[in-house]
């Protein structure tokens, strides 16, 4: 790992809005070379930014994305597996197609990106992967059965991939944010959100900076002994 961040390549999924957009701008601001992807176009215009429009669960498109990164940069240092969709509804009102969509984006795509990322990272014997869970897992929130189940799967992936990727010098960790005022939770009634905040040790909405602070810790070269961990914000 070199300390010149302009040579360090970060891949961020779901980069066009919400936390992903914030992280894209944040890491560009810190001098990283950032590759982002999402279904929609990005509004970010920066000399060190390249955006790819794709469906994160489309294996062929994802493979092509990694091929492009390999040919352009010959390396990948950090993967931030941020892309995710939520489903917040009573189980009796949840169609199977919703379950399939949530698992496809949150679990299958996270796996796909982890698998392809480590293929590139192994070349340098170095890599940092950060997956996204949620406080809905430890809180076992009603109305979030499918979302929480998909993120539980992400946590299991994180812990097991941490073991499988350790010999390649790649750490795999996860972050469980509290609600942050983004598009993902825009349709949740205020009383539900207030009840959720009551469960946290620190009873406030999360901030984008809380997320980047935790990710900064995971991706430090000095964090080489930190892997297979899930860090919940707000004291879940």
């Amino acid at each position: 790992m070199n300390n010149d961040k302009s040579n360090s390549v970060v891949l961020i999924t779901g980069a066009s809005r919400g936390i992903g957009l914030y992280l894209t701008q944040y890491y560009l601001g810190r001098g990283y070379c950032v590759v982002g992807c999402s279904r929609s176009e990005s509004t970010v215009s920066h000399a060190n930014y390249l955006h790819h429009c794709l469906d994160v669960s489309d294996e062929k498109a994802v493979k092509t994305l990694f091929s492009t990164i390999r040919k352009a940069h010959k390396r990948l240092d950090i993967l931030i597996n941020n892309a995710g969709i939520a489903s917040m509804n009573h189980a009796l009102l949840t169609p199977l197609t919703t379950v399939e969509k949530v698992f496809s984006t949150n679990v299958f795509a996270s796996f796909l990106f982890c698998r392809e990322a480590v293929k590139l990272m192994r070349k340098n014997g170095y890599g940092r992967i950060v997956n996204f869970s949620t406080v809905a897992v430890p809180f076992a929130l009603e109305g979030e059965a499918i979302y929480a189940a998909s993120k539980s799967a992400v946590e299991s992936l994180t812990k097991i991939l941490a073991k499988e990727f350790a010999e390649f010098g790649v750490t795999v960790n996860a972050l469980g944010p509290t609600p942050i005022l983004t598009d993902l939770i825009k349709n949740i009634p205020k009383d539900k959100l207030d009840k959720l905040l009551e469960k946290q040790s620190i009873k406030r909405f999360g901030k984008m900076a809380d997320v980047s602070n935790a990710i900064d810790f995971y991706i430090l070269p000095e964090s080489e002994f930190i892997t297979g961990q899930v860090l919940y914000l707000g004291g879940a």
Partner: protein, 98 residues
């Protein structure tokens, strides 16, 4: 049409890469070289690295994107990863049928 011999050359290049990056082992560039099992000098990580290097060479030299460890390969009764020759034969057939 990609020839068996061309695929074999790519596998040998991947073996060169593996041998150069791993001082502990020396994999022979022969068709009969076992890639896994008791007779092989490769451990599971070496095999993974070898297959990934072959995938990269397929992309770089032949412009072919192909996931070697796919469902078909992993479900075959006789594993295509048994020897260099079985791997070359499997890849030749699969790539030419794309």
């Amino acid at each position: 049409m990609i020839a068996y011999q061309k695929i074999l050359e790519l596998i040998y290049s991947a073996i060169d890469e593996l041998n150069a990056g791993n001082g502990d082992i020396s994999v022979n560039k022969e068709e009969s070289t076992p890639l896994f099992g008791a007779a092989s000098v490769l451990d599971s990580v070496d095999l993974v690295n070898l297959l990934l290097s072959v995938e990269e060479l397929l992309e770089d030299e032949l412009d072919i994107e192909f996931v070697i460890a796919n469902e078909k390969a992993l479900s075959q009764k006789n594993s295509p990863f048994k020897t260099v020759a079985t791997l070359a034969q499997y890849l030749t057939e699969e790539i030419n049928s794309l």
